[in-house]
Amino acid sequence: MYGLGLAKGLMVTMKNFIRPPFTVQYPEERLPQHPRFRGEEFVWYDERCTGCASCAKYCPLGIIKIVTSPSETAVLEGDKYDIEVFDIDIGRCMFCGLCVEACPYDALFMGSGFERGRYQRKDLVISVDELRQAVKRPSTWFRPQLENARYDPQEGEPLAWEDVGREKWPWHKQEKAGAKINRTVHRGGAESSQDKK
């Protein structure tokens, strides 16, 4: 019979008409975000970073700029370079996460934000000071140690540098064993994660 198909289709429409909506009203309501979400506001730990620039070399677009200088303590003893510039040009970033995958010291993490609208392109460059001062809620993308600890960047507490690593860093092991290493860390903001401890 002609029109039966239309009637069947309208039944579906009616069923969906009385169903609660699947969408949410975005700025007021938010969908839950998964811990692996790759977003902006990279989380970076100054204390962990040695300035090896693996992330900058591995970035497909070359948007990470790093300038380092030898630090006061000897590099040969396993200490780090001072990071003078660590700029990430978020405006060109495609959030592939290869920089995070490349980091051998677990110093760089993806963030979980996605609302970084700015009026000018230069505001989209994240500088080293901004990275130092940012609230550190790392995404668990490519960081199984955070995932095993069931860390959720949306609800979890900000993490300090001691809690995020895979413990493969030689000087970190020494320090765990009780050795005291005098480390110079640039104070970007009022407090660093060391002060908080």
């Binding site: 002609y2 069947k8 289709g9 069923k15 979400f37 790759r38 495609m94 996460g97």
Partner: protein, 368 residues
């Protein structure tokens, strides 16, 4: 007394919502009847093949996400297969299963977009499209859980996949597989017997099988013309040889067949995903490879997959350095688009929009 008419040439696109991206069609009409169609593309050309020549093998993977951005998983898979062939590495079994599973989920998502936009082009504005998108949204949500992104996934790596699925992925996938038949059934009930859809799509834009083969058409467009040709069966890659599934074919090759074949393929994909969940073996998910791959100089490899839109192939040539010497992409959308004129001459403007939708092109892949 007959009114004297002359053919009129008009442009449709590149900024036109129903050309599925930045495709421009130069169409000559006699009244409302199409006399000639010429697709003009290149508005989304980003030079992916050239960009690949100055990036190392893992970095190129991020470019493949952006070819067919509706189905990034299968792009990843084709590229990884090519690089693995080039390097001569084996992929762990669990990684192969994860690849097949995610590729089939992606095929479901891509076919839902194709079906939804075909109906949108028919004039069923928004409602059926939103039903398709509701289903697709659940799949994309799983992808976000799995690899942190919904569209540009970058999930696979040469030698496996980058990480195993998180613990809460498996219950979520089971939930989706439970809901999927109902969601798809709703779509079928809404549309497959709808008289308006039948009248507008049956016997419109018929592609005979010999023409399809002559134009080297692949994917659902070829299968709708009646040839059961699928690389998953013809040359099984990863673990497709262990999967039980059928190849749905159409009998006439019209717009309705192309639409129906896609819906049937979604069902077959659901079968494959459930088999993957059952058979998923434990074990490693990635072969240990160095960060910077250096395939032997002079090596050549062609990796191909049955992408949702057809045969997607990567032809890679190495010169022994860290970057490919040549990366040729055989994209199904470009080759399927060439048959457009055969389908359209003699039909009217409104049928042109529907036929273009039924070929399911993606401009990111056409222009690369």
């Amino acid at each position: 007394m007959p009114i004297r008419t002359e053919p009129v040439t008009i442009n449709i696109g590149p900024q036109h919502p129903s050309t599925h991206g930045v495709l421009r069609l130069r169409v000559t009409f006699d009244g409302e009847v199409i006399v000639d169609v010429e697709p003009i593309f290149g508005y989304l050309h980003r030079g992916s093949e050239k960009l690949a020549e100055e990036r190392n093998y893992v970095q190129v993977l991020t470019l493949t996400d952006r070819l067919d951005y509706v189905a990034s998983m299968t792009n990843n898979q084709a590229y990884c297969l090519a690089v693995e062939k080039l390097m001569g590495v084996e992929v762990p079994e669990r990684a192969q299963y994860l690849r097949v599973m995610t590729a089939e989920l992606q095929r479901m998502a891509s076919h839902l977009v194709a079906a939804g936009f075909l109906l949108q082009d028919l004039g069923a504005l928004a409602t059926p499209l939103m039903y398709c998108f509701r289903f697709r949204e659940k799949i994309l949500d799983l992808f976000e859980m799995l690899c942190g992104a919904r569209i540009t996934v970058s999930y696979m790596r040469p030698g496996g996949v980058f990480a195993d699925a998180p613990e809460d992925f498996w219950p979520a996938l089971d939930r989706l597989m439970g809901e999927a038949p109902e969601l798809l059934g709703e779509l079928e009930q809404l549309l497959m017997e709808n008289e308006i859809v039948l009248v507008r799509t049956k016997n419109v834009g018929v592609l005979p099988l010999d023409t399809a083969i002559a134009y080297s058409i692949s994917g659902p467009v070829l299968r709708a013309s009646g040839l059961p040709w699928d690389w998953r069966k013809a040359d099984p890659y990863d673990v497709y040889d262990r999967m039980q599934f059928d190849i749905p074919i159409g009998d006439r090759g019209d717009n309705y067949d192309r639409f129906r074949v896609r819906i049937e393929e979604v069902k077959q994909s659901m079968r494959i995903v459930s088999q993957c969940i059952e058979q998923m073996p434990p074990g490693p998910i990635r072969t240990e490879l160095p960060f910077v791959l250096r395939p032997p100089a002079g090596a050549e490899a062609y990796g191909r997959v049955e992408a949702p839109k057809g045969e997607l192939g990567f032809y890679m040539v190495s010169d022994g350095s860290i970057a490919p010497y040549r990366c040729k992409i055989r994209s199904p959308s470009l080759i399927n688009l060439t048959v457009l004129k055969e389908l359209l001459v003699g039909w009217k403007l409104a049928d042109m929009i529907v036929t273009l939708g039924s070929i399911d092109i993606n401009m990111g892949e056409v222009d690369r």
